[in-house]
């Protein structure tokens, strides 16, 4: 379990435009630079918001990222609640 590392990665992506670029365009390489479990890597590769939330990632690291990726807030909430938007 490396929740701290998952959250650190998301903190960097939300805060630093350069890291967001890498998250968008070379995600696999970028993710490999953090100490993550296979499940955490999968959740980040697939931007699986529900899984990330359930593993304990703070919701305010997820909501703004969803908006950055173009997901509407109601759709984001639906995903967290386990519904397909």
């Amino acid at each position: 379990m490396s929740l701290y590392e998952v959250q650190k990665l998301l903190f960097h992506v939300n805060r630093e435009p350069r890291m967001l670029e890498r998250f968008l365009h070379e995600r696999e390489t970028m993710i490999a630079e953090y100490r993550l479990t296979e499940e955490e890597q999968r959740a980040l590769l697939e931007t699986d918001f529900r899984c990330l939330y359930e593993m304990g990632v703070h919701s305010l690291l997820l909501g703004p990222l969803a908006a950055t990726l173009g997901l509407s807030f109601p759709d984001y909430l639906a995903i967290l609640r386990g519904h397909q938007p």
Partner: protein
């Protein structure tokens, strides 16, 4: 003259990010209240605005999360979460002289950190955007987010220390607290609102009797007002600065589509004899 106004307002990202999502009966009172707040701010004729705000992972992470941090830079920029709030990123002027004086003055009573490089998220930028103000800003960030937020009574002490330092400062200073009230932000429970908690808190805040909330148990706060309820810390801070002043409520409106019990309020700062003379002169 020193403290010329003390204001408090919710900063729910939906206010600008999803303005049309709630029914207009819910959104309009908040837009109107922000317009009224803007008039009150202008009427106070401040030279500088001290914004007491939580932040949401804009500057600080779990490797080092200060309870209180004052921004002493000449310039800031934000919001970092542009798409979340639909506000274009811009630069905001600081006021380094007062910021440094505040940092030194506050440190006499309350430990706080300083930052020469700070960015703003919606906590600061959403209110600035709605108030359409170009005033120089001094941010005081209060951890309401993670790690170990300072006890509520320490936030009150922070406010008292702000007031002691601001009193006698030659410029006209206005204070703005942002955040709260109850909310479960960006989580499955979003839309739930602790109306009863919000009303009790506002009663205490507006009657100048915030003391009853200074030892509010953490678990009770989170159960009644959600994780976002921790943001009452900023309201408690300006209540401390206002020294028991009463206030008026410009709006309270639960807005589930904005995930927040939204409130906008003004505390009536007493004019000193000196100020009364200045005004009549």
């Amino acid at each position: 003259m020193s403290l010329v106004g003390a204001f408090a307002a919710s900063h729910a990202p939906g206010i600008t990010g999803r303005p049309s999502l709630p029914p207009t009966g819910e959104s309009e009172p908040i837009f109107r209240a922000y317009a009224e707040l803007r008039s009150r701010l202008e009427a106070a004729r401040p030279d500088v605005l001290v914004v007491v705000s939580p932040e949401h992972w804009a500057n600080f992470f779990l490797d080092n999360m200060p309870s209180f941090c004052i921004g002493i830079a000449e310039e800031f920029s934000g919001p970092t979460d542009e798409k979340f709030v639909d506000i274009q990123r811009r630069n905001v002027r600081g006021n380094t002289r007062l910021a440094r004086a505040l940092a030194e003055g506050i440190a006499e009573d309350v430990d706080l950190s300083t930052s020469q490089e700070m960015v703003f998220d919606h906590g600061v930028m959403l209110p600035l955007h709605l108030l359409r103000t170009e005033l120089p800003v001094i941010p005081i960030i209060v951890n309401c987010l993670a790690g170990m937020p300072a006890p509520l009574h320490r936030c009150h002490a922070l406010g008292v220390a702000i007031r002691r330092t601001v009193d006698g400062w030659p410029e006209r200073v206005a204070l703005l607290a942002t955040g709260g009230l109850s909310h479960w932000p960006a989580m499955p429970e979003s839309g739930q609102i602790g109306i009863d908690f919000d009303r009790r808190f506002l009663d205490s805040f507006l009657s100048g009797k915030i003391e009853s909330f200074l030892r509010y148990p953490k678990e009770k706060l989170e159960a009644e007002a959600g994780p976002g309820g921790h943001e009452i810390r900023t309201w408690i801070t300006i209540a401390g600065a206002a020294g028991g002043a009463r206030g008026s409520l410009l709006a309270y409106q639960p807005v589930p589509a904005w995930s927040t019990g939204c409130a906008v309020a003004v505390l009536e700062i007493e004019q000193s004899a000196q100020e009364a003379n200045d005004s009549s002169a």
